[in-house]
């Protein structure tokens, strides 16, 4: 993983803000419906999986209950497979709970065009008929291309469409958590 202190990477959310966002999102999820019997958290690989697990851990701390956790690999559901450069490696989808009738909270790191979420919804529906699917994201950066919205948002981060946003998480090898905006050379030197 490249070092995050590259000159053109601007830190927009640090570890503390991320931790507080996860906490707040967790409380909001619990507030929305106090009945936890059909709740399940599903993370979208790879960063969404990490954040989803953290939400599950937080729920366990608050309510002393282990909520079922699943992961989705959306590679087989993407609409842009022919355009990708690299050979896709599948990491697998596992939903170890009854999808039909469940209240699923889908978790991802960044909500952008909405296509990843659409693919994830297709995957979930192939497994059964959930009662409800809600979406929790760490960052919403706008520029939706499909009518998709998040129920729980850590931070809204308006950005230019061409800019890249990078999320670094400890569980994925980073030294510290952080969300970075990758600036062009022009912007760096401003």
């Amino acid at each position: 993983m490249p070092k995050a202190n590259q000159k053109n990477w601007k830190l927009v959310l640090d570890g503390e803000v991320i931790a507080r966002s996860i906490s707040r999102i967790t409380y909001e999820i619990l507030e929305k419906d106090r009945d936890l019997s059909r709740l399940a958290v599903v993370g979208i690989r790879t960063a969404g999986e990490v954040l989803g697990r953290r939400i599950c851990d937080r729920i366990a701390e608050i309510e002393n209950v282990r909520i079922p956790f699943g992961v989705i690999d959306i590679t087989l559901y993407r609409d842009d497979l022919s355009m990708s450069r690299a050979q896709p490696t599948l990491k697998g989808t596992e939903l170890p709970f009854a999808v039909t009738g469940a209240r699923i909270v889908l978790v991802d790191d960044v909500l952008f065009t909405g296509r990843t979420i659409r693919a994830a919804l297709d995957a979930i529906i192939d497994f059964g008929r959930p009662a409800r699917v809600e979406l929790a994201v760490l960052v919403d950066r706008g520029h939706r291309e499909l009518p998709i919205r998040a129920d729980y948002v850590g931070k809204n981060l308006p950005s230019e469409k061409h800019q890249a946003l990078r999320v670094r998480l400890k569980e994925l090898g980073a030294d510290e958590d952080g969300v970075y905006l990758v600036q062009s050379a022009k912007e760096v030197n401003k």
Binding site: L81, S82, T89, L90, D126
Partner: protein
Amino acid sequence: MKHLLGIEGLSRDEFYLLLDNSREMVEISRRDIKKVPALRGKTVINMFFEASTRTRSSFEIAGKRLSADVVNVSATGSSVTKGETLLDTARTLSAMAPDVLVVRHSASGAPAFLARYLPDTAVVNAGDGLHEHPTQALLDCLTLSEHFSARSQGIEGLRLAIVGDVLHSRVARSNIWAHLLLGNEVRLVGPPTFLPPELKEAFGADSSQCRGRLEVYYDLKSGIAGADVVMCLRLQLERQSQHFVPSLEEYSREYGVSEKLLARYAPNCVVLHPGPVNRGIEVSSEVLDGPRSLVSKQVSNGVAVRMAVLFLLATGKDTGETTIA
């Protein structure tokens, strides 16, 4: 990778890419809805010039599970029996421009021939003559990797004995390439008529680049001694007219794999067979139906492997990477 014409020429990374993706595909076959939309809108043509129910339906199911449009063309009853040449067939297929063409043919090199004439199609070799049968080797390795999942090295560092008619077996060839790539010790066991002296050189086994080892044994007991895996090849009874073995009884006596033999010389081994099996000739029913046999797993893994292959080729072809094997 643009085509899958054989295991020869695959890099270790490419091989593991196929194997790892195959593993993930297994999960889809366990769902209630055994379908993903990955190849929606893509056309897969299965062109089988040689009769085969098992492999063809395996590819058909694989394509359908990926939501591809699958078309089966068999040689009998098609224009091929009316004397259409392979070249004409290639031109007709080219006009249909499928995304993927799966070919099984009795002539070695036929898939490579078709690939030359179909620039916009990814070609999968489902078995060509005596040359290669790459998806079989992959599913054999997937089966082994499931069995050896607890091993730290996975399916590397194994001793494998392939017993029987290696000379006429495309399955053997593909498996030899695969296991040499993995760095395994491969022992070819059988009568000298099936194991010509040029075998080691044919697979580059003596070169410094070869990661594995290849040895030839004419004696079954020493050949399978200490083997982790024993793969039995079908003795093709049609070969008798060319005098490869004096008689079936003699072959079966000298090279037939039985439980007694395995218990004594390779007590921990598992057994593979590409099928169809001549029960009692190359392997006994006791072994085939017993706990060592991974044959039924081989069959079910076929679909997963073929899904991975179709997926990688159909989605990778637009990146314009070069032909492999």
